[in-house]
């Protein structure tokens, strides 16, 4: 792991990138067939998709805005999945992170803007991690299935935010507003805009910096190695004297905290207030984002850019060509399926021959 060489790094990058690109191409092809048979011109549709996502500087800005929560949420997924913990409560932790950011962002603190922003993001991390505490404890110390647990808490979080922002009785609600929302954050708690005239905000940079930091932490520090070992070889980890319970708890908290930053960045960067139901399922899409990236934090930057571009371009595709935005979900789903199948099949080349026979050997990556 520490014997770094350019050739090795290139080979590794190739391994990470080639599979997903084939998967994306296949997914676009299949979706293209579907577009064709529903009476549209696939090339024109994809042209609009391309223009709407990367065609000019404004489209790129929209892609960046869509990409930001997927990047931060994707890191939260990568953090837990690469350590064998299936935290699918990203959505809920994201909502709670947004609550934390809102509480700190509404306070007119007598501090410079950079410090206020740091506190806002830190509050997002803390609240996201707090929301992961109970499932983390039950999973790590009591052996409760974390999948259902974290999934259920997503809905609790969504209703909690709906309560908090209620304009009549919600503690954070703006009295008399027509939609469930909080008042606007004070000006020092708003993330600066990166591109004048657009909504692209500093949250994107926060995501990129965190991706690099997480990559270094996971791959080049002994703490990161300890966390990952719990995932890829629990027996060896236990034998090596790693405290399983505490480590699993740490993984869950770190993952929840990252998800919380995703929510904080939406509030402080994009909306400048907390809305009920503000996330259109970013926490769930983040699972797809991280999967496409093979749970590699650096690759999450690329895959979130791809999914962000799909989202941004789909709006234009609907306006210009008239194709439902939901074609994007189909492309996403096919991509996930092909990437997953491709990863497994490439570990077992012989499987092509016995594609329709039942498996005799399980691949290296199992659950998580």
């Amino acid at each position: 792991m520490n014997s770094w060489s350019l050739k090795g790094a290139l080979q590794k990058a190739k391994d990470i990138i080639v599979g997903p690109i084939i998967a994306i191409a296949l997914a676009l092809l299949l979706a293209g067939i579907l577009i064709y048979f529903s009476g549209y011109e696939p090339l024109a549709a994809y042209g609009a998709l391309f223009k709407g996502s990367v065609g000019n500087i404004n489209s790129l800005a929209v892609t960046g805005v869509r990409m930001t929560p997927l990047l931060l949420g994707g890191l939260a997924v990568a953090m837990s999945f690469s350590c064998g913990v299936s935290n699918i409560g990203i959505e809920g932790q994201l909502y709670l992170g947004a609550v934390g950011a809102t509480i700190v962002g509404l306070m007119p603190l007598p501090v410079p803007q950079w410090l206020h922003l740091l506190l806002v993001l830190a509050a997002g991390f803390v609240f996201g991690a707090l929301w992961a505490t109970v499932p983390g404890y039950l999973y790590a110390y009591k052996g409760v299935n974390e999948v259902v647990l974290t999934l259920m808490l997503n809905y609790v979080a969504i209703y909690l935010v709906s309560y908090l922002t209620n304009t009549v009785y919600g503690p954070l609600g703006e009295k008399g507003a027509s939609y469930s929302q909080s008042p606007e954050l004070v000006s020092t708690a708003r993330l600066p805009i990166l591109l004048k005239g657009s909504s692209l905000h500093v949250g994107l940079l926060v995501g990129i910096v965190l991706a690099i930091a997480l990559y270094i932490f996971m791959n080049h520090t002994s703490s990161g190695f300890r966390l990952r070992m719990v995932g890829f070889n629990p027996h060896a980890a236990e034998y090596a004297g790693i405290p399983m319970e505490r480590t699993r708890m740490q993984i869950m908290l770190l993952s929840g905290g990252l998800a919380g930053i995703a929510g904080a960045s939406e509030v402080a960067g994009l909306f400048h207030r907390l809305y009920a139901n503000f996330s259109p399922g970013y926490g769930f899409d983040a699972i797809a984002v991280s999967l496409l990236a093979g749970n590699n934090p650096l690759a999450v930057i690329l895959s979130s850019a791809f999914y962000g571009a799909l989202r941004a371009g789909a709006t234009r595709m609907q306006q210009v060509i008239g194709i439902e935005v939901s074609i994007v979900f189909i492309i996403q789903a096919f991509t996930i399926l092909f990437v997953t199948a491709g990863t497994v099949l490439s570990h077992r080349p012989s499987v092509i021959k016995k594609l329709f026979r039942f498996s005799k050997k399980s691949p290296a990556e199992g659950r998580g």
Partner: protein, 312 residues
Amino acid sequence: MHGNLIFILDWLAASIRYAAPVALASVGSVYSERSGIFNIGIEGMMLIGAFFGILGSYYTDSVLVGVMAAMLAGLLCSLIHAYMSVTLSANQIISGQAINLLAVGITNFLNRALLGHLSGVRVPGFAVIKIPLLHKIPIVGQLFFQQTAHVYLAYLIPIIGAWILYRTTWGLNVRAAGEHPQAVRSAGLSVERIRYATIALSGLMAGLGGAAVSLGEVRIFTQEMTGGRGFVVLAAIVVGKWNPALTGLACLLFGGASALQTRAQTLGALDIIPHQFYNMLPYLLTCAALAGFVGRTVQPEKLGEPYDPEQD
């Protein structure tokens, strides 16, 4: 009749209406979880079922064809999940999530392409069937025996499901596949084949449950109309302790909670407790059940783990 009684009857009736599709879908999922396969794609399979139920019923004017189309569509989705999670031993969460995304995409896309011109026209749906004699029983008859066809199925199928799971050899095999797959293999049976069968069953039943959502009441398709019922299935299985009959009852409990929050306003209860807390109730209950606060809950030993014959 007394006002309170009317309220309670209305609430119970609404609970049953909500619970029936969920209970139908849950039976298949209990089987797949008992055999070791986790299926969070159940929401997507129900949504696909809801759409193809409407589509089949619209093109043929036959509810039965609609139901069959829904079950077939659910089956096809489940085969994707089976191939990914059994044959390829891939992560079960991911392939389930892929199916959820695929379902939202495909139903929205096809709905606009094929049924977009309908704009609110209702297709033939399940008819109300009055059970002879029983429906005349005061209150009980009105509540339980003047329902649409799928509700009766939802009474029966969980009980039959429990009987098969606990009283037949195949049921034993299913349970063994999720607890001690190596024992199943030693007995000369294929764990993979058992898991394929239970996943297929979960797809068929999710399709039926989805058709019950769309053909059972509104008889039109609306975007994402299953609205998280598939996730309620996952919750009900936990509360029902992986027993098909108890899971059916848990669905009724969740139906009750869901119907209560829409009716809490009439009770004046919203002044004391905001409606969001009623909405949270089913999910909190599930967490409590998982945490062991509601009796002992033990999930199948190998749930979510791909079977690796060389490991044992």
